[in-house]
Amino acid sequence: MNTKLKRTAAMCAVLVMTGSLLTACGGTTENNPTADTTAAAGAGETSAAANGGETTAAAADSTSGLSGTIKVLHHRTDRDQDGTMAELTKGFNELYPNVKIEYQSFTNYADDIATMMQSDNYGDVVMTPQALKQADLPNFFAPFGSYDELSQKYYWLENYSVDGQVYALPTGGTASGVLYNKKVWADAGITSLPTTTEEFIACLKQIEENTDAIPYYTNYNAGWCITQWQSLVVGASGDPDYNTKLLTERTDLFSAGSPYDAVYGTLFDIYADPTLHEEDPMTTDWEGCKPAFAQGKIATMVLGSWAISQFQEAAVQVGTDPADVGYMPFPNSIDGKIYSVSSNDYMMSVNKNSSNLDAAMAYARWFCTDSGFAQNEGEISGLKGAAMPETLSSFDELGVQLFVENPAPAELIGKFDEIAKASEVDPWGDASTNYKFRMAEAAFNGQGREAYDKIAADVNTAWAASRDEILG
């Protein structure tokens, strides 16, 4: 009897432990701030909402008659936790008091949303999954309106429109470039920012000689960090039609002096010099690099401009000056000018199966137009004519030409992605066999430029084969 009891107790303990481990693994957080916000707002309109939705106060605005509960699926777990999302709901409920908003955020958003989209049940408003093929958008999402009309107002709709209808609106966008610690660069004795890639590497060497900071932090362990280099490529070309020309003119990705070569050649040279980066690239830590950067232990990182506000927050937390977080374009000047490209962050779409379609539409429109989310995040607004975020003020001083890519001609829409996946070259990808990792590891292992040339040639071959097969 005694042993039996013991065993049962042990089993229970094991079950509880496994149970808690399982819960610990589920990376989703759910919160429902609606209750708080209705109470907090306290206006006549909201109490009407609390009483069951018979609005009289809504007469002022014809659309505020919308009601129902909508679920917003998104990737910003941090903004769920720090209450930013709840704050947004308050703003929305001032216009639409009868709509309840529930947020659900995922740490592994891209994969989870793809799985959820196998059924009809994927919330009402979602961040548009980037892996979805453009032509498939109408199978999942409801249209916001015609491209001709909406493109007057928003950027980046080209890749999210099918047959003249728009299926996603931009929540914000980022510029491509290099994050650097102004204080460290100044301490190293650098007075003017580099304008060529050679100067850039010379600056890193100067930092290595004159300061204690790590000149460049690869963040290699977080696989996605290296994909940030890809965002430099179009900017380095200075050509809004660069990606289209890759298809129409059938140029190789890598050739001497091509934008790919300029960007990844620089990557290779930095990674190949052990004095220029951290000791062990496999044990880097993304969260830990933020305070280290703010404290001047790290001088430089290639990251999109979306990162600026996060590093400024880290600077405030560790008590250093957020103004030291500097941002510069990738120093590949073309005829004396430096370019940077701005591109969209996650877009927002509405589930076409939503039972509260109008309310969901209203929320998505409001989020992308009036919520101020992009502005608060230091991102570039998706609205045409909106002011540049303060985080990019340095671009004005440096005379950077910030441009938006031109849309691909109709017959080439989606072809770039198709070739990217079919050839497995996948310029934006972070599979372990990706050329970015192969180049980085060849550099870390001190294999020299021949290894780089070999990988570049492999990429050209694979790309050309799939391109010629798909374009005919």
Partner: protein, 309 residues
């Protein structure tokens, strides 16, 4: 045989539908219902779907489905890069035989009369109960080579440093990284092997040991002539599981290195094909091929080991 027993036996078939029998069968069925249901829903149906997918071209969202017949299988077998990843399985295979030997050794010791045997059993089994993600995080820290600026040396490098050696980049040196990952794998899974062996060793009748003691057998002879033959089926089973594990190794390299620095495996490549390149059909075909390889290896192993009996 007593009269009573004979009567009971005669009555038994007639009583097939007796209340007690029905009750018993209901209980059995109810107990089986949930596990069977779970097995069907979470193993058989998805596996059948996967086989179906392997004849199709489809993406992660289940869009653009197109039946392509054996095209995916042709691609798998005509791409040597996919099979190159099996060379890393050799590391894990070697590792798993070291693991079996060590497990057998520890299990034999723990079954002899030593103090705190139960405590040590708990200690060796404990890693098996830790979630793999946690294990991966522990060992990333363990093998870390710090730069003194953003992070410090990990446990192993600190020890090397104390002994006066130079710190090593364990996880970013090709070749070495696989050995480190195999070590983690052994640490993680050896507990399960040990428990299996202990169970088997304890099922050997104590009379045999007593007889051996009387005959003056030493500890090695006891192991060689009593324990080893006694637990032979379990050793064979563990060897099959070891080979299967070595071919389909996934979580530990995936979490610690993401398959970089030459530590990729076939399963990592399969998931990347599905979720990074959006080729779910091709990835399903790779999974089916892996399944067939494991079945084939198991059959060969069984045949070879039977012969040598």
């Amino acid at each position: 045989m007593t009269k009573k027993n004979i009567r009971a036996e005669r009555l038994a078939p007639k009583n097939k539908l007796s209340k007690a029998y029905i009750e018993k069968m209901t209980t059995v069925c109810l107990f089986l219902l949930i596990p069977t249901l779970l097995l069907v829903i979470f193993t058989y149906i998805p596996a059948a779907e996967m086989v179906k997918f392997s004849f199709e071209e489809r993406d992660q969202f289940g869009q653009n489905v197109k039946f392509v017949g054996l095209e995916n299988y042709k691609t798998v077998f005509s791409t040597p890069e996919y099979f190159a990843a099996f060379k890393n399985s050799i590391y894990y295979l070697c590792g798993s035989f070291i693991q079996l030997g060590l497990a057998l050794f520890i299990a034999t010791i723990l079954c002899s009369k030593i103090r705190f045997a139960n405590f040590f059993k708990g200690v060796v089994f404990f890693p098996y109960m830790i979630n793999t993600v946690a294990v991966a995080l522990i060992f990333r820290r363990f093998f870390q080579k710090g730069d003194g600026i953003t992070n410090t040396d990990g446990t192993l490098n600190s020890i090397i440093d104390l002994l006066g050696g130079d710190p090593v980049k364990f996880l970013s040196t090709e070749g070495l990284v696989n050995i480190c990952l195999v070590f983690v794998s052994i640490w993680r899974y050896i507990g399960f092997d040990i428990v299996m062996f202990i169970g088997a060793i304890q099922s050997i009748s104590p009379d045999i040991y007593e007889a051996a003691d009387l005959d003056g057998a030493n500890r090695f002879q006891i192991f060689r002539y009593i324990i080893a033959p006694g637990i032979r089926p379990i050793i064979l089973l563990q060897m099959i599981l070891a080979v299967k594990g070595a071919i389909s190794v996934y979580e530990i390299p995936f979490i610690i290195t993401g398959g970089r620095f030459g530590s990729s495996t076939f399963v990592i490549q399969t998931t990347e094909t599905a979720f990074k390149f959006q080729k779910v059909g091709l990835a399903s075909a790779m999974a089916v091929v892996l399944f067939l390889i494991i079945v084939a290896v198991t059959i060969i192993q069984k045949l070879v080991l039977k012969e040598d009996k």
